[in-house]
């Protein structure tokens, strides 16, 4: 690739939200007090809007360039220049980053506007927006970073903001715990990420290319083909470690446990961070490092199966959830599983396509759920909802559209992206029938539980509490407008990825091709008929799920008890208890670490402290000896001198008899002595 085009405006895309965050963070409270929440909203939303416009401009500039040269670079300054390592604080935008940036700023901007309505009554309004802006800035740094280290800065930053926003209402201990859980589980993933980064730099330096910048890594990655690390292929180890990081951030097995708990945060936060953007960071990372992953087919196989199984597992748990947000959370985990599956079968373009469509419909679903929660004054239990479509038509309409998208019904966006993934799972060299089958099952379950959600919340007789029913109304415009916009995108976004089999040109795959130059097109030999057949099967699965949900929750023809008692009730109990994964983790890892740390503390108290105390005791003994010496010898000497003086005085004072006669004798004696002295 030739030298990238240098521009100077890319830095403002992350920088503007960062400035908004700083301003709101520092001056938000007094501004809110004096001028009201409108000022805070403006300070928060305008930078994101401006960032979106700049991202559009970058997109435009990229379009103007020929396909092979689509890379804009903005080098801000040299960050690290130590020995062989040279890292710049630089932002680069290529087709992949452009898609991500548009999604982040676009969906993020809509969620900012929605938040203005949803968080209207929140006293810490300014803190919320400061953190939301900070998150946006960090996510943009992550997406636009031109090197792995700067990406990691953004990676950590979004983790931090996620923690802060999940535990936004920190006065409630459970919220704070959920935030900590998210952060800690992410940390485990981050450990893998850093090890992978170190190993990458190490092996690249050993091969003569000490760099962490993506375009240089991409150009020179082939040198790792023969490199080994501890007997394993270097590329395999690095990619495996990077994938560990991705599982943390993107909530895959085994590190997905934080995402359901993260629903403790405000619903717009769930929409932005845990649906559209942060959780997609792992997917983005793997897509970015595609040139490494193609060299590690073993890792890809693992990735594919992890993704598929996560999709299925999360779908099964989602079917028995009663909290509206928890259903959506498990749905997110499941859809992320699809994206990871796509990456595992060497179809990164499909993964990014699904990422984009998922951002639209999942954000819409979450915001819709937020609208319901807002209207019902923070009621989140599905068993206390019902018949809401009569009171909240706009919310219902957008929610239904997004549900159709997620269930994969044509012509909505989800159909195109999910089907692309399933097709690639079936037909790719890395894929296979087994993977496709798991994915297909999960698709059926997705349709089922999503429509279950819709029917329970919006259809049927209202189980809503009478008190809440009195204040029930559609949400304000600041909330419904973003819903409509997102729903519109959920409808049309799919049309950028219409596959060749249906007569489209799959524009998104071509657009993303420069980023995935290493991935070659396999499975082009499969026939279009096979593709149609598979498409029909997945739509059929979706319809089956819809029908079952309808039978169970609308008409009541199929009883839910049937499934609950199936297999002795064991599957139902497992699903309701999330397969006891949290409990297993607690017993094995948490308890184990606690035991280890208690051991360490005991060691510290008994051995280390004993040593220190022992030294102190020795010193005390020495000082006591010293004191004794001082007391007995030195003071003793002084005291003895004093005693001697007193003794002498006691003896000598006997001369003072008071008797004048004696004194006279003494005088005479003296005279005699003098006389004798003179005579001699």
């Amino acid at each position: 690739m030739d030298e990238p085009t240098s521009v100077a405006y890319l830095r403002w895309i992350p920088l503007l939200p960062l400035l908004g965050a700083a301003l709101n963070g520092v001056a938000g409270a007094p501004l809110q007090r004096r001028f009201g929440k409108g000022v805070v909203t403006a300070i928060a939303c305008l930078p994101v809007a401006a960032a979106f416009l700049l991202a559009c401009r970058a997109f435009n500039d990229l379009l103007a360039l020929p396909a092979a040269e689509r890379l804009l670079l903005d080098r801000v300054w040299t960050w690290i220049d130590v020995g062989a390592l040279r890292v710049d604080a630089a932002f680069a935008i290529d087709p992949l980053a452009a898609v991500m940036a548009l999604v982040v700023t676009g969906v993020g901007g809509l969620i900012h506007v929605y938040s203005a309505g949803y968080m209207h009554d929140e006293p810490s309004y300014w803190r919320y927006f400061a953190l939301l802006n900070l998150f946006t800035a960090m996510m943009l740094i992550l997406v636009l970073a031109d090197n792995l280290l700067l990406l990691f800065v953004g990676w950590e930053g979004v983790g931090l903001c996620s923690y802060a926003l999940i535990g936004f209402w920190y006065a409630n201990h459970d919220n704070a715990t959920a935030g900590s859980k998210a952060f800690i589980v992410n940390r485990i993933g981050d450990f893998g990420f850093t090890l992978g980064m170190f190993l990458l730099f190490w092996t690249m330096s050993a091969a003569g290319h000490p760099t962490l910048a993506f375009r240089e890594l991409g150009a020179n990655a082939h040198v790792l083909a023969d490199a080994t690390f501890l007997g394993w292929g270097a590329a395999t180890v690095i990619t495996a470690l990077m994938f560990v990081g991705a599982t943390g951030k993107s909530a895959q097995i085994p590190l997905y446990v934080w995402l359901p708990d993260a629903m403790a945060g405000p619903t717009p936060v769930s929409a932005l961070i845990h649906a559209a953007t942060m959780v997609t960071a792992g997917v983005y990372l793997i897509a970015r490092l595609d040139f490494l992953f193609v060299m590690a087919p073993a890792t890809l196989a693992v990735i594919a199966w992890v993704g598929a199984l996560t999709a299925l597992l999360a779908a099964t748990i989602g079917t028995v959830q009663t909290d509206i947000k928890k259903v959506l959370a498990y749905s997110t985990i499941s859809q992320l599983g699809y994206m990871v599956l796509a990456l595992g079968v060497a179809a990164p373009a499909a993964a990014v396509f699904h990422l984009m469509t998922h951002a639209f419909f999942k954000a819409c679903l979450f915001l819709g759920a937020g609208s319901v929660i807002f209207a019902l004054h923070h009621e989140q239990d599905l068993r206390r909802m019902g018949g809401l479509r009569a009171w909240m038509p706009v919310t219902y309409g957008t929610f239904l559209v997004s549900t159709l998208a997620i269930a994969g019904f044509p012509p909505f966006s989800g159909f195109f992206s999910k089907d692309e993934i399933l097709w690639k799972a079936f037909s790719s060299e890395q894929g296979g029938v087994a993977l496709w089958f798991v994915g297909w099952l999960a698709a059926g379950l997705t349709a089922f539980y999503m429509f279950r959600l819709v029917f329970l919340a919006f259809h049927g007789d209202s189980r809503i509490d009478a008190q809440a029913r009195r204040h029930l109304a559609e949400s304000p415009a600041s909330m419904t407008v973003p819903l409509v916009v997102l729903a519109a995108f959920a409808v049309v976004a799919g049309f950028v990825g219409v596959p060749a089999a249906l007569g489209g040109s799959n524009r998104i795959e071509h657009w993303l091709a420069p980023a995935f130059a290493a991935t070659t097109e396999h499975g082009a030999h499969h026939s279009a008929a096979l593709e149609y057949g598979l498409m029909a099967l997945s739509v059929g699965a979706g319809l089956a799920g819809l029908a079952l949900a309808h039978a169970m929750y609308v008409t009541g023809r199929v009883s839910a008890d049937l499934f609950a008692r199936f297999g002795g009730g064991v599957p139902y109990r497992l699903a309701t208890n999330k397969y006891y994964v949290d409990e297993i983790y607690q017993a094995v890892f948490v308890a184990g670490v606690l035991r280890l740390s208690r051991l360490g503390a005991a060691f510290d108290a008994r051995v280390v402290d004993a040593a220190v105390n022992g030294v102190a005791a020795v010193v005390r003994g020495v000082s006591r000896a010293n004191g004794g010496f001082d007391r007995i010898v030195v003071d003793g000497f002084v005291d003895r001198v004093a005693d001697a003086t007193l003794l002498a005085g006691g003896v000598l004072r006997r001369l003072q008899t008071g008797s004048i006669n004696l004194y006279l004798y003494a005088i005479v004696a003296g005279v005699v002595v003098v006389m004798i002295a003179k005579l001699l």
Partner: protein, 101 residues
């Protein structure tokens, strides 16, 4: 012939007696009397030597000074004795042993 030695012997005897008086008397005034005797013996010595030893009057001048000083000392001493008498109601020197160590 009466020579220097005779006077010296006389003075010696008076001195010895005065010394004895000082050492043995318990009456304070008695002690002072002894002191006077000693002074007188000294005077005799001075004058004897003035006449037999030098021929000038230095000895006599000195003897006059001695007499004068003896007077002063006797005055003060007797004032003290009277003070002792008033404090102790006696002038027995063995009674004034209150300043013992």
């Amino acid at each position: 012939m009466i020579g220097l030695t005779h006077y010296l012997i006389v003075s010696l005897v008076v001195f010895a007696l005065g010394l004895f008086c000082v050492l043995t008397r318990r009456n304070a005034i008695g002690i002072l009397m002894g002191v006077e005797l000693i002074l007188n013996s000294a005077n005799i010595n001075y004058l004897a030597f003035a006449r037999f030893g030098s021929g000038n009057y230095d000895g006599q001048i000195f003897a006059i000074f001695v007499i004068m000083l003896a007077a002063a000392e006797a005055v003060v001493g007797l004032a003290i004795v009277l003070g002792i008498y008033q404090t102790f109601r006696t002038i027995d020197v063995s009674a004034t042993e209150t300043l013992r160590g």
